[in-house]
């Protein structure tokens, strides 16, 4: 017979809320459900209970007992996230897990005893489950038995972990009151009328007679009373996304307070991703706005990441760029999980970048500079020198052996100016003379127009030009024109005449003249 463990979170709605606001764990807190005068206490922390706060009290009654009582409303998104976290804790121990409803999770323990080779493996397992759950700020009680009912009833007892020995389920349940079986009200009333108050008394009744008198509900309840499960364990299918969020006590208008609250939620989200060896490739943010608005954002990450700081920076930049436009009343983060990048590192070749570190670095740079400023350069079709394309940075694996260093080419490169720098160029018709005097050495395909051989360069003053390099002076040597025609088939055709010039004061530049406008620009510095 399979052994099962039940993880039970006492006062689940309150525990879920305190998981989101860990600072309140030692405070007197009461959780309310309902609005206005109809609001009633549904859970209270230990300190609040010690002061006399009980479920069902109204807010004025609770405040009368404890004026400094911290009050929170029930938050379904917190509870959903806490339930997911509880399931993930169970999944980190066993592959077969069942979602038992609010604050209850069952897990099959077959084969796990090998991981706890002590005198009492189940006891050690129970302690390990409690410890792991406490780390995730979710206090649990653990019950272990051979049936789900017995395990759940054992988990609801305060002496955690409670172990019910195999085959002892019926005797364990026997002295407990009938309401532990969660019977239908009608059935319970009938049984009490018969004078049956404990599970054991009910289990001792003949099976056929119970079925004959109470019908199918009574028969099922009888089987439960005998320690038998009505259904086998129903395996839990993990969701495609990880969600964390909370409703805010009051609407937030400023960004910083929102990020302060969001950091805690993101931290929990990253912790959950890390516990399953996953990272987030896309992060969605849902903001509930006052009074009834909804704002949805989707942030694509350059590579899967689970670093809180990086994700928070991305959210900050996104919200700074496009503010939601109304106070935020609740938020939810939705992480789309993906496997972190993996790579086999070489023992002999050059060291490769760690994929995980690279993903984090790229995400940080994206957050800092924006996605259009980080990437791998890629040659683009065409002839314009200022053209450039950025693609995703995915470096290939390094070679298995370090190659011998090559001799450098010592190539003179051009520092491209983007956008080209407008210039005023004084030209002189002096080339005609040299052309006539050296007709033999003139290349046959060179078509020099004597009217615009550059002689002097002046910078054009424009708005913001103080941030751009200034080029001016008398030209010592001019070489050109070198013709460039590109995209002649489109409306944005380019026809330029390029010149390499050396200024008398020093400096080597590449200029061009737009043929159709006659304007001059510098688009590069030989450097």
């Amino acid at each position: 017979m399979s052994r099962l463990a039940c993880l039970y979170v006492p006062l689940f709605p309150l525990a879920a809320r305190l998981r989101s606001e860990r600072d309140l764990r030692e405070e007197a807190v009461a959780l309310f459900q309902g609005n206005g005068n109809a609001a009633r206490v549904i859970g209270a922390s230990r300190r609040a209970r010690q002061a006399g706060i009980r479920p069902g009290m109204s807010l004025p009654q609770a405040r009368a007992l404890l004026p400094k009582l911290t009050v929170r409303s029930r938050d379904r998104s917190c509870e959903r996230a806490a339930q997911d976290a509880l399931l993930e804790i169970a999944e980190s121990f066993s592959p077969r897990v069942e979602d038992g409803g609010e604050g209850i999770v069952y897990l099959e323990l077959d084969g796990l005893e090998r991981h706890f080779p002590g005198d009492s493996p189940e006891q050690e397992l129970g302690h390990a489950l409690t410890l792991t759950s406490n780390k995730a700020a979710l206090p649990i009680w653990v019950g272990i038995a051979s049936s789900k009912l017995a395990a759940r009833v054992a988990a609801e007892l305060p002496s955690s972990p409670k172990i019910v020995a195999p085959g002892q389920e019926a005797s364990f349940l026997a002295p407990l009151p009938l309401h532990r079986l969660s019977p239908e009200a009608e059935v319970l009333e009938t049984l009490e009328r018969w004078g049956i108050h404990s599970i054991g008394e009910f289990a001792r009744l003949p099976k056929n007679k119970v079925a004959g008198r109470l019908g199918e509900p009574g028969q099922k309840l009888h089987e439960k009373a005998r320690g038998m499960d009505l259904y086998p364990l129903v395996p839990y299918q993990p969701p495609a996304t990880f969600a964390e969020g909370m409703e805010l006590e009051w609407p937030l208008v400023a960004l910083e307070p929102f990020l302060f609250v969001a950091r805690a939620a993101l931290s929990r989200l990253c912790q959950r991703l890390a516990s399953r060896g996953l990272a987030s490739s896309r992060l969605e943010l849902e903001l509930n706005l006052e009074p009834d608005g909804l704002c949805h954002r989707s942030i694509q990450l350059p590579a899967p990441s689970r670093e809180t700081k990086t994700l928070l920076t991305l959210i900050r930049l996104n919200l700074e760029r496009e503010p939601p436009g109304a106070p935020v009343t609740a938020f939810t983060f939705l992480a789309h999980p993906d496997r972190p990048r993996k790579a086999q590192l070489s023992l002999f070749g050059p060291p490769a970048l760690s994929p995980d570190k690279l993903a984090t670095t790229l995400a940080r740079l994206f957050a800092l500079l924006g996605p259009d400023r980080v990437g791998s350069p890629k040659p683009t079709d065409g002839h314009r020198p200022e053209r450039a394309t950025l693609v995703e940075y995915t470096p290939p694996a390094p070679p298995e052996h370090r190659p011998d260093p090559r001799q450098g080419r010592g190539l003179l490169s051009v520092r491209t100016l983007r956008p080209p720098l407008p210039l005023e160029v004084i030209t002189a018709p002096t080339v005609t003379q040299s052309r006539t005097s050296s007709t033999e050495t003139q290349p046959p395909n060179t078509s020099v127009e004597s009217s615009y051989v550059p002689r002097e360069v002046l910078s054009v003053i424009q708005d913001g030009s103080t941030k751009r390099p200034s080029i001016q002076g008398r030209i010592k040597v001019a070489s050109g024109p070198w013709s460039l025609e590109d995209e002649w088939w489109s409306e944005h055709s380019i026809e330029r005449d390029y010149w390499d010039i050396e200024l008398a004061e020093g400096g080597l530049y590449r200029l061009f003249r737009q043929r159709h406008t006659g304007e001059w620009f510098a688009d590069g510095i030989y450097d």
């Binding site: 390094p398 941030k467 030989y526």
Partner: protein, 242 residues
């Protein structure tokens, strides 16, 4: 007075207390790695005793047409062709991918970052070092550099990060920016262009010659210099390099 205070303490406690001067004398800075990283530019390698060492921050300063950008591309080419990743922080947005490929840079291994402020340059460099990049090249473009020189503390922190991550930070700047943080400083003078013969019309640019001089290198004497010869792609292709 400090001596009087010191002598008033128990003797077993006295031996643990030291003045700032004594601590400075005893402090031996962590040595840079011995892993050599040749730049494949002979003139620069000669000045830097063979090349760059991991953990160093080297600054190359020079005005326009001094061969600074060509040196940066040669360094990136040497690194990426050896199969290592490299990052170029290009403040002036001056990189032409086609030309970088001609210089021998393996573009797939190059991360190109185009910040707009010096503050972002420094933050990006720190992030890249933490990310494990073995070579981070910072090119500050042409003057005026947006953001001035940056705080010296930031450059010191960057130099420390390079040391702790055993990476190389190569700063190419029109003027000194890193203060005392750099392990070595090389200055490039404005280059002298080389043209084809006057009789040939039009005259063709064949290259640039500039002078590199070592201004500072920890543990070495400065003042040495060498000549940097750079040749245009056209001159190399058509055999006009000389």
């Amino acid at each position: 007075m400090p001596n009087a205070l010191l002598s008033s303490l128990p003797s077993d406690l006295q031996q643990y207390l030291k003045s700032a001067r004594e601590l400075t004398r005893q402090y031996t800075p962590p040595s840079t790695s011995t892993v050599l990283f040749p730049t494949t530019i002979d003139s620069l390698d000669d000045l830097l005793t063979g090349g760059l060492y991991r953990g160093q921050m080297i600054e190359l300063i020079g005005y326009r047409s001094s061969g600074r950008f060509s040196t940066v591309l040669s360094l990136l080419a040497a690194t990426t062709m050896a199969g290592e990743a490299a990052a170029l922080i290009d403040l002036g947005n001056n990189l032409d991918p086609q030309q970088a490929a001609l210089s021998g840079v393996d573009l797939q291994r190059l991360l190109w970052i185009r910040p707009q402020r010096l503050k972002d340059v420094l933050a990006s460099a720190e992030a890249l070092l933490a990310g494990g990049f073995p070579l981070v090249v910072i090119d500050l473009g042409t003057p005026p550099v947006p953001g001035g020189r940056g705080g010296e503390a930031s450059w010191l922190r960057l130099a420390r990060a390079a040391l702790s991550h055993e990476a190389i930070v190569f700063v190419s700047s029109p003027y000194r920016v890193s203060g005392t943080a750099a392990t070595g400083v090389v200055k490039a003078t404005q280059g002298r262009p080389r043209w084809t013969n006057r009789r040939q019309t039009p005259r063709l640019l064949t290259g640039l010659t500039s002078k590199l001089s070592l201004e500072k290198l920890r543990g070495q004497c400065g003042g040495r210099s060498s000549t940097l010869h750079l040749t245009t792609h056209e001159a190399l292709t058509f055999g006009m390099a000389t």
